[in-house]
């Protein structure tokens, strides 16, 4: 390639969530790529030279200046393209100031690849294909395998738009399959597993005798299946099993608080507020078992992190989880919506010997190191971009 490949990573906000930032910073290490970022600046950012930020702050002046700047630039030097986009937006009745603010910078900088991180934004951004940009869409959990189930209009939008997307990045094989239900072409989907940064933490030495410390991490959304985990806790308590279950990120949720009180679990279940990343990692590291009771997931990063910290993992068989966790080899799997199976498996796990635990957690560590390192993620993405660009 004679010039650098310009790739826009778009999530709507700058900076994005942890895993998208990891991708951005990883890509920027490659000499062949210039990463461009558009959208609303939420906080101060410190990116390297390779990353160009064309965002606006959430205030009138910042928006006005950006809009003026790109309106002038486009009018003077890319009038044809501007007129074409304006016409298109007008015909769809969405030539609003906000849309111009969002779209003009992208039209001006015209990256080779526009990589959209969330499927719900597809309707907004499908126009980039008419301006010599390739459109890549990431398929991540909820927006593919949950939202369109109840939202028929969204499902129809996907069905009409997915055939026009140039390439898909899927976080798991399962999501790749789900997307095909909405007319995504199989040959356009590439599964690239998320990569996580290695991190070594010291496990706490203090081991309280025979209390199994179980932990879950995540917002208190129904899809996380905590109600099933609490029903399992009730079954464990009825068997006088000695355990302590912590959910980080679920405090202030009335449904869970009521269930804990209703089932008399106050002494063995604790809900905590969200915590900084490092604290969460330490808490996972200090637990005996990480529990993912979810009804649905793309591929839960917290499970990967637990495996990296050599904490045993018990997950439900949802989304792409079985692509990472293999029963009794590097962790444990139970069916979704099955509190009884969950409680029985926890009892089974509690009587593992130290040697068995060690073997399982070492295997888990190896899985994550080999399948979910940042390098394979970045290489996978680079390859996807380059192939798409070269296929012109």
């Amino acid at each position: 390639m004679g010039h650098r490949l310009k790739v826009a990573i778009f999530s709507g906000v700058i900076p994005s969530s942890t895993f998208i930032e990891r991708l951005i910073n990883g890509l920027a290490l490659s000499d062949d790529i210039e990463v461009q970022m558009f959208g609303m600046l939420q906080s101060k950012t410190q990116y390297g030279k390779q990353i160009k930020v064309f965002g606006y702050r959430n205030n009138k002046w910042s928006k006005l200046i950006l809009l003026l700047k790109y309106t002038v630039l486009l009018t003077l030097f890319k009038r044809k393209a501007k007129n074409k986009l304006d016409q298109l937006l007008k015909s769809e009745n969405r030539l609003t100031l906000l849309n111009r603010l969002k779209f003009y910078p992208v039209l001006w900088h015209q990256p080779h690849i526009f990589h959209l991180q969330w499927a719900k934004g597809l309707k907004d951004w499908i126009w980039v294909r008419d301006f010599d940009m390739k459109l890549v869409l990431s398929l991540r959990g909820t927006q593919i395998n949950q939202s369109p189930v109840a939202d028929k209009e969204l499902a129809n939008d996907y069905k009409s738009l997915f055939p026009h997307v140039d390439a898909f990045h899927s976080v798991s094989k399962d999501i790749a399959e789900q997307a095909q239900k909405y007319a995504a072409k199989k040959e356009n989907i590439k599964v690239i597993y998320s990569g996580i940064e290695p991190m070594t933490l010291q496990k706490s030495q203090k081991k309280e005798s025979n209390v199994l410390k179980i932990i879950s991490v995540g917002r208190p959304h129904w899809v996380k299946g905590y109600t099933y985990a609490l029903d399992a806790c009730k079954l464990l308590k009825d068997k006088s099993f000695n355990f302590e279950y912590t959910i980080i990120g679920a405090s202030k949720n009335i449904e869970l608080a009521y269930q804990i009180q209703d089932l008399g679990l106050q002494d063995c279940v604790k809900l905590f507020d969200t915590m900084p990343f490092e604290k969460v990692q330490q808490a996972i590291c200090n637990s005996d078992l990480f529990l993912l009771p979810s009804l649905n997931e793309g591929l839960a990063n917290v499970v990967l992190e637990s495996m990296m910290h050599k904490t045993l993992v018990l997950t439900t068989d949802c989304g792409g989880m079985s692509e990472v966790v293999s029963e009794s080899i590097n962790g444990f799997i139970v069916p979704i919506r099955d509190s009884k199976a969950m409680s029985e498996k926890i009892l089974e796990i509690s009587i593992l010997s130290e040697a068995e635990r060690k073997k399982l957690t070492e295997n888990a560590f190896t899985t994550v190191r080999e399948q979910h390192n940042t390098k394979q993620m970045i290489n996978g993405m680079l390859q996807l971009y380059k192939e798409l660009h070269d296929a012109k």
């Binding site: 939202s147 189930v149 939202d151 029903d231 009521y258 209703d262 009804l295 649905n296 919506r337």
Partner: protein
């Protein structure tokens, strides 16, 4: 026989968030009943919407203190002015009582201003329609020399304190007459240190003339199950859908209809698909009462497998319509339906037990089904009618 209305001319102030909508039959019926019994009723609400002032009693709305800064400031000034010049004695009395409760001067003043609309009127009773509405208003009744009453309806007694820790701490120390929907709620309120004689159980009532089957509608051949509920987690619909899955596995010919709308729609639709029962389940959304009645009329079994429930009017309506009712044992439900007598009560959060019970009920012979229905209809008509409720409230204020 209704008590003689001429002997009473008390004024009851009822505090609600908004003027009751047409579907909120409880408060509408209650207010109508009180007026028929000779009471004057004043309704205090947080805000009014268009058309609310046509409501057939005096409506006093709070000023808006959360709008633009200028508007709020103007409302604060007005309230302050009224507090000082229109009813200075009650304002000062309230302020003192707040201070006596240990509130800072700032908070006491704030409460005096935002509650100005409650301090204006001379009334005999100040009745808060929900527990949470009495928060920071615990001293109003004493300040205006009225008696204080609070209704607990389920959510406010069991769930609000989980979100707002200690929200009834001040209330429970005051002299208050409580109205609850069930004996279970009374027991739970007593556990908070409230004297038994201050807690009156008045269960909800329904319009038994409207909710009665004329027997002309032909029921479907396959078993029709139905629930009328807001799509809220406390209604236990996810557990119900799991039971539905078990019923499907046992090859029963049935269909389940959920009537209602709410925040958990996506969760329940997702469950329906994940449990692969979408062909056996219909979500109708919210329907007008006449439509609800039609659905009930053409159905066989009513399910109310709630996680938390004060009492539940829908179950009364279903019983009155002659449906076989299977409910959970959440709080007031086991008083609403008497197990084995007017329906069946199943322990909550256990879908296998619910599925088993549905199958048992389906297998009952027609005589057994009829016997349960008849007792249920009779009991609802006799014990949960509006006249009964009106009389109970008459006594509540006159006891």
């Amino acid at each position: 026989m209704m008590p003689n209305s001429k002997t009473t001319s008390q004024t009851i102030g009822i505090v609600l968030s908004t003027v009751p909508r047409y579907s909120e039959t409880f408060f509408r019926n209650k207010i109508k009943g009180l007026q028929e019994n000779g009471f004057d009723v004043v309704l205090f609400v947080d805000y009014v919407e268009e058309g609310d002032l046509d409501f057939p009693c005096t409506v006093i709305a709070s000023a808006n203190y959360n709008s633009s800064r200028l508007k709020s400031l103007s409302n604060i000034t007005k309230a302050l002015f009224k507090s000082i010049f229109s009813h200075p004695k009650t304002s000062i009395r309230f302020l003192r009582l707040e201070r006596k409760d240990g509130l800072s001067l700032k908070n006491s003043l704030r409460n005096t201003i935002v509650n100005e609309f409650l301090l204006r009127k001379k009334i005999d009773w100040l009745h808060f329609g929900f527990g949470m509405l009495s928060s920071n208003r615990e001293n109003i009744a004493q300040a205006i020399a009225a008696q204080m009453a609070v209704s607990f309806r389920g959510f406010d007694l069991y769930l609000s304190p989980l979100k707002h820790k200690g929200c009834y701490q001040r209330l429970f120390l005051k002299e208050v007459k409580y109205h609850v929907l069930s004996h279970e709620m009374k027991t739970d309120l007593k556990a908070q240190g409230i004297q038994s004689e201050n807690i009156i159980v008045i269960p909800p009532a329904i319009n038994v003339d409207f909710f009665q089957s004329d027997g002309n509608v032909k029921k479907e051949a396959s078993i029709q199950l139905v629930t009328v509920a807001r799509l809220h987690w406390k209604k236990g619909l996810e557990y119900t859908l799991e039971a539905i899955r078990l019923l499907k596995d046992s090859n029963i010919d049935f269909h389940y209809t959920i009537i209602g709308e709410g925040s958990e729609y996506e969760r329940l639709q997702f469950a329906t698909h994940q449990l692969n029962v979408q062909d056996h389940v219909t979500f109708t959304g919210k329907l007008p009462q006449t439509e609800v009645k039609k659905y009930l009329e053409s159905s066989h079994i009513y399910l109310q497998y709630s996680i938390q429930e004060g009492f539940c009017n829908s179950v009364l309506e279903a019983q009155a319509m002659g449906l076989l009712c299977i409910v959970s044992n959440a709080e007031g439900l086991s008083e609403n339906v008497l197990d084995q007598k007017t329906g069946w009560v199943v322990p909550k959060r256990q879908p296998e037990l619910l599925a088993q019970k549905v199958q048992e009920v389906i297998r009952l012979n027609p005589q057994e089904k009829r016997a349960i229905k008849e007792v249920a209809i009779k009991r609802v008509r006799e014990e949960f009618n509006l006249e009964q409720q009106n009389e109970a409230f008459f006594k509540f204020y006159n006891r």
